[in-house]
């Protein structure tokens, strides 16, 4: 079992949990958190290199390092693992955000408990990305969701009890749909007479889910994951949840957890039920199209920095699901790029907002101004994050959005193309709300003279933000590397639905 490299993505966080348990002071806690997340990131980078080497050597399996260990035989539950380019991209993203999140919560109160929950959460995330067994996938999914309640409820700010409860309940509601869908898939996973299975690859190979069941199960799973992907009208946990969450949790939640939704949507809903996906895509296309435009417009009038960013996340994550539903290679590649890009830049945003909030003790843009003169480093980072968000070439947002738009516009149906134009219009609205913040918060005269005494970023804050900016610029400068990594997954042989189109 321990000969497979993938299992270490779960083992290392568990070891980190043990280590944290033994820690005696904050220095040890920081050391464990940073070392562990660096090791995890290094491992995922190593995995990436190895993956590319294997692919270059001609490995054509849909997933590599596939392995399966029996867990509960009567129900055919296994711990099955395997990764492809997308999972690896997500693993790296998780690692990067975990490192920067650890740096961003350098001075959190009650660090031991905080990091215990945070690492437990990331255990769930890592487990989710490496699993290919629906049951264990779901289990890890829940492991990733539950700690959020405590993290927000204990370390949060503002109306934290309400937000924590709302977030947890809404996501649990999504999980209920999801569980129904997954159990439904399990009972139709094999042709009559053959043993049932939870394994995604086998289910896809069997292709045994009848058409009628697909049209029932597809909406179940898509909505189930879509709730986490902030799909309209199930997105309202996002503004409240993000606003109350502590910095690192917002980063991890918007940066990685919301990606679980998008990842699940195509890994389960679209991959396993291609026919229903093809038929029902238009319904969800309308919903996600609304998400994109609606989130952007809502963000224009918010005054709380975190609300602005949460609505912007609704808009950007809406674009992820929107592109996935276009069901063609380029658009789906764009969706994954957008997941990476949004994960990094929104983490950067939340980190910066947390740092600014930690100094000014307000997040209301009406009560701040002229930060560029007071906190030049953080402000410049904020402008860069904003530029990435509004899609400036050379940063990650541009390549992701353009891949999505070009790919989606290749759709042969006029209805789809018109919807792409509607989604395109969000680039203007994005510019409006980003520049509104830049103009009010960073530029202009200093609003509150008390702010003049604030000090600029500490070294750990610089590490966190600089690391994220380097990643954002890296994707923006060398997009083809990431596109090549992702694209293979969406071949017509693997994704039946692309063949259908």
């Amino acid at each position: 079992m321990f000969s497979n490299i993938l299992i270490y993505f779960v083992v290392i966080p568990v070891v980190m949990l043990l280590g944290l348990f033994l820690c005696r002071n904050i220095k040890q806690i920081r050391a464990v958190a940073v070392t562990g997340s660096v090791v995890l990131t290094a491992l995922s980078v190593w995995l990436l290199v190895d993956y590319l080497a294997l692919r270059a050597a001609g490995a054509t399996d849909p997933m590599l390092w596939v392995d399966s260990w029996q867990w509960f035989a009567p129900l055919n539950i296994n711990l099955a693992v395997g990764v492809d380019g997308i999972s690896i991209a997500m693993l790296i993203l998780t690692g990067v955000i975990l490192i920067t999140g650890s740096f961003a919560s350098w001075e959190i109160p009650q660090p031991k408990e905080f990091f215990l929950w945070l690492i437990l959460l990331s255990t769930g995330v890592y487990g989710f990305f490496i699993s290919i067994d629906l049951f264990t996938m779901f289990m890890f999914y829940e492991v990733a969701l539950i700690p959020m309640y405590l993290l927000i409820g204990v370390w949060g700010s503002g109306n934290k009890n309400y937000s924590a409860m709302k977030l947890t309940l809404m996501l649990m509601g999504g999980s209920a749909f999801l569980m129904l869908g997954l159990i439904g898939i399990y009972y139709h996973s094999a042709p009559a007479g053959q043993p049932l299975t939870w394994n995604i690859l086998e289910i896809a190979q069997n292709d045994a889910i009848s058409h009628g069941w697909q049209t029932f199960l597809f909406p179940m799973t898509f909505v189930g994951f879509g709730v986490l992907g902030a799909m309209f009208p199930f997105h309202t946990w996002s503004p409240d949840g993000h606003a109350s969450a502590p910095t690192a949790v917002s980063m991890l939640h918007a940066g990685v957890l919301m990606k679980l939704g998008g990842y699940g949507c195509f890994r389960v809903a679209i991959y396993l039920m291609p026919h229903a996906a093809n038929e029902l895509a238009w319904i969800f296309l309308i919903l996600t199209g609304i998400s994109v435009v609606y989130g952007a417009f809502s963000a224009c009038v918010q005054n709380d920095l975190k609300y602005i960013n949460a609505y912007s996340s609704v808009s950007h994550c809406g674009l992820v699901l929107f592109a996935i539903l276009m069901l063609n290679t380029t658009a789906m590649t764009g969706a994954i790029m957008q997941m990476l890009s949004h994960g990094l830049m929104t983490a950067l945003f939340f980190a910066l907002i947390g740092m600014i909030y930690g100094r000014t003790h307000t997040r209301d843009i009406r009560e701040m101004g002229g930060m560029m003169q007071i906190l030049p480093y953080l402000s410049v980072c904020y402008v860069i994050a904003g530029m990435a968000s509004l899609g400036l070439p050379g940063l990650s947002g541009f390549v992701a959005e353009m891949t999505i738009f070009v790919g989606s516009f290749e759709h042969s149906d006029l209805f789809h193309r018109v919807f792409v134009i509607v989604a395109c219009s969000s680039i203007v609205t994005t510019a409006v709300y980003i520049l509104r913040v830049v103009g009010k918060l960073l530029y202009g005269p200093v609003y509150d003279q008390h702010h003049m005494t604030l000090t600029d970023a500490k070294w750990w804050e610089r590490v966190a933000t600089a690391g994220l900016i380097v990643c954002v610029a890296g994707i923006g400068f060398f997009p083809n590397f990431f596109v090549d990594l992702i694209k293979f997954t969406f071949s017509p042989e693997i994704f039946t639905v692309i063949g259908l189109n």
């Binding site: 417009f297 380029t330 400036l392 516009f409």
Partner: protein, 648 residues
């Protein structure tokens, strides 16, 4: 051609941006300024070398007999979308990009030198030079684009660097709103550009320029039978792409950002908002001109927009007080000249070779860049001396600032189109092209040309003649004087260029099909236009040479027109109404309210109902054992009765 030099042309400014941006804080002002200027100087030499190699080397890569070729020096796939569609970053050398390789580094270098003096001692000097380098990089990348998406990329980058430079004095609220406005308005236009690209790529399956422009018939064929709302698909694509150009080049209804962009430092206005970035729209149309030639409707659209803008901007320029605003509207008007010139160059234009309009447009782009940069830099040195943007604070300055005066006069004569200054030649070609297309356009544009001469000399006389304010009193004993060498050198250099640029044999260098084109000055038109210009100058001299109350009486006689022109015909108010009242209050706020109260209210409603329901039924769990027994007994009895009924 070797790829080293083209790569360096792009890489040096980018490197300078990164260097000054990241390490600038640690540098002294002098070091940062010198580094930036040296970097730009190197680019200047390299791009002159490249352009001259292109035009004059006779290399078969660039010229085939007498036909100039389009040469792709390198083309690197940056982002592959589909097998057919990819963003490529490359370096295209053809007549117009080689011409821009002369224009941009020249102006940029002059501005770099000028800023050493103008921006001396400003806070954020290093940042200023970093942004200038970023802008130069983006603009160079834009003009050498081999791929429409490369153009879009650098198009966005010039927009961003323009945003950063307009907002350079970021503590001033007016600069903040100006930079936001510039970015958002051009962004809105870019949305049109992007959709245009998407439509074009959907039908043609190309993003590279050359396959499209070298074989326009194939593009036309791929749009066969596609119509939408009564216009052909290709027209839609081209008009949408032109929308992007309308935003960047400040055409009428999207012009509102350019006058406000004057909040940036004056050298920036000279570089970005007069000479280079704002002509990107013209350049875009010129780049895709073979496609535009296929669609008369699209060309007609360009002509109408251009003509309306030219007239409007000239009207407004006559009633402004701020000299930078006058120059800004003059820029809008002159760019509109270039647009009209492209618009009238239709293939149905049988009276004259269709390349005339294209060539004239590019010629005017070249000469305008030189003399408009000169005028802006001159305005900068005036502002530097007087510390005000308004001509009301100036007057009689010819005695105090002789170099500025002479060079400014050269600029004004050039823009008015007086022989032998540069503007005369290019404007004459444009008017010829207009007359060849239709007398209406010809007369219309000639009228605008006359207005140009009038408002430019109005400004000239008001600044350098008119009255003589008591400078000694206002400036505490300091009299206005010519600036230092760093600032006068660019003025003198550009002044000389503005005199001689007209004699460049442009027809041999820049034509749209690469064939040589013989310019012959049509003296009937040229004489007429020069006569009109001289009359206008004489009229403004009569009004403004000496201090008098004629202008005041004129303004009073039709007060409403003067006010309307002074308020720029209320475009800003209209936009403010649309954005504030309709979009912000009418769309965004209701959506936010809907989200908080309806969508979120539904979710909270579920929670509320669940909560209430559980309160309602929790009475059963009273904790009273005897109560439970009663319920148990009742249940048992009822069950017993049911069983009994069933059994019996």
């Amino acid at each position: 051609m070797d790829i080293t030099i083209p790569i360096l042309i792009l890489a040096i400014p980018l490197f300078m941006f990164l260097l000054l941006g990241l390490a600038g804080v640690k540098m002294s002002h002098k070091l940062a300024g010198t580094l930036g200027t040296l970097g730009m100087g190197t680019v200047l030499v390299l791009s002159y070398y490249t352009a001259f190699t292109y035009y004059f080397s006779g290399n078969p890569e660039f010229i085939d007999g007498t036909t100039r070729l389009q040469a792709v020096i390198f083309n690197h796939t940056w982002l592959q979308f589909t097998p057919a569609l990819a963003i490529r970053i490359g370096f295209l050398l053809d007549p117009i990009s080689a011409m821009m390789l002369i224009v941009i580094p020249t102006i940029s270098f002059m501005v770099h030198v000028y800023s050493l003096g103008y921006m001396h001692g400003e806070k954020g000097f290093q940042r200023y030079y970093a942004f200038l380098s970023l802008f130069s990089f983006s603009m160079l990348g834009l003009v050498v684009a081999t791929n429409i998406f490369q153009m879009y990329i650098f198009w966005e980058l010039v927009g961003a660097s323009s945003f950063l430079l307009i907002g350079f004095f970021y503590t001033l609220p007016s600069a903040v709103s100006a930079c936001k406005k510039a970015f958002i308005v051009t962004r809105f236009a870019d949305l049109g550009f992007l959709i245009g690209i998407l439509v074009l790529s959907y039908f043609t399956h190309h993003l590279d320029f050359l396959p499209m422009t070298q074989n326009p018939q194939a593009v036309l064929a791929s749009f066969e039978g596609v119509t939408f709302l009564g216009a052909s698909g290709l027209t839609w694509a081209l008009v949408l792409i032109f929308t992007g150009g309308m935003g960047k080049s400040a055409m009428l209804p999207l012009h509102i950002w350019l006058p406000d962009a004057m909040e940036g430092p004056t050298p920036v206005s000279a570089l970005i908002h007069a000479a280079t970035m704002v002509v990107a729209g013209v350049y875009l149309v010129a780049r895709l001109f073979p496609l535009y030639m296929l669609e008369d409707a699209a060309l007609m659209f360009i002509t109408v927009v251009g003509a309306a803008t030219a007239f409007y901007a000239a009207m407004v320029a006559c009633a402004q007080i701020d000299i930078k605003r006058i120059l800004a509207f003059s820029t809008i008007s002159q760019i509109a000249f270039m647009m009209v010139s492209l618009g009238v160059a239709s293939k149905n234009n049988v009276a004259i070779h269709e390349g005339l309009g294209y060539m004239a447009s590019m010629f005017h782009l070249f000469t305008h860049a030189m003399f408009k940069a000169l005028l802006f830099l001159g305005a900068g040195s005036l502002i530097h001396a007087v510390h005000s943007n308004n001509y009301t604070a100036m007057g009689g300055l010819r005695k105090y600032m002789p170099i500025t005066h002479i060079t400014f006069l050269i600029g004004c004569l050039a823009i008015a189109g007086i022989w032998p200054f540069a503007g005369f030649f290019s404007k004459d070609e444009i008017l010829s092209a207009c007359f060849a297309n239709g007398t209406f356009w010809g007369i219309w544009m000639m009228m605008v040309a006359a207005m140009t001469a009038f408002y430019m000399f109005r400004m000239y006389f008001l600044v350098f003649w008119w009255d003589n304010p008591d400078y000694e009193k206002e400036h505490h004993g300091h009299l206005p004087h010519d600036p230092g060498f760093a600032m006068t050198f660019p003025l003198i250099f550009l002044g000389i260029v503005s005199i001689i640029a007209g004699f460049i044999p442009f027809g041999q260098l820049v034509t749209f099909d690469g064939h040589e084109y013989h310019i012959h000055i049509d003296w009937s038109i040229a004489g007429l236009s020069m006569g009109v210009a001289i009359l206008s100058i004489a009229f403004s001299a009569w009004l403004y040479m000496k201090k008098n109350d004629k202008p005041q009486r004129m303004a009073d006689s039709c007060r409403w027109l003067w006010t309307a022109a002074n308020r720029r015909f209320y475009w800003d108010e209209i936009y403010l109404f649309i954005t504030r009242r309709i979009i912000f209050d009418g769309i965004c706020k209701p959506i936010a309210w809907f989200d908080r109260h309806i969508i979120d209210g539904t979710m909270d409603g579920f929670a509320y109902v669940t909560n209430k329901a559980s309160y309602a039924i929790r009475g059963f769990q009273s904790g009273k054992v005897q109560m439970y027994i009663w319920w148990y007994l009742i249940g048992a009895v009822v069950l017993g009765i049911i069983t009994a009924i069933c059994v019996l």
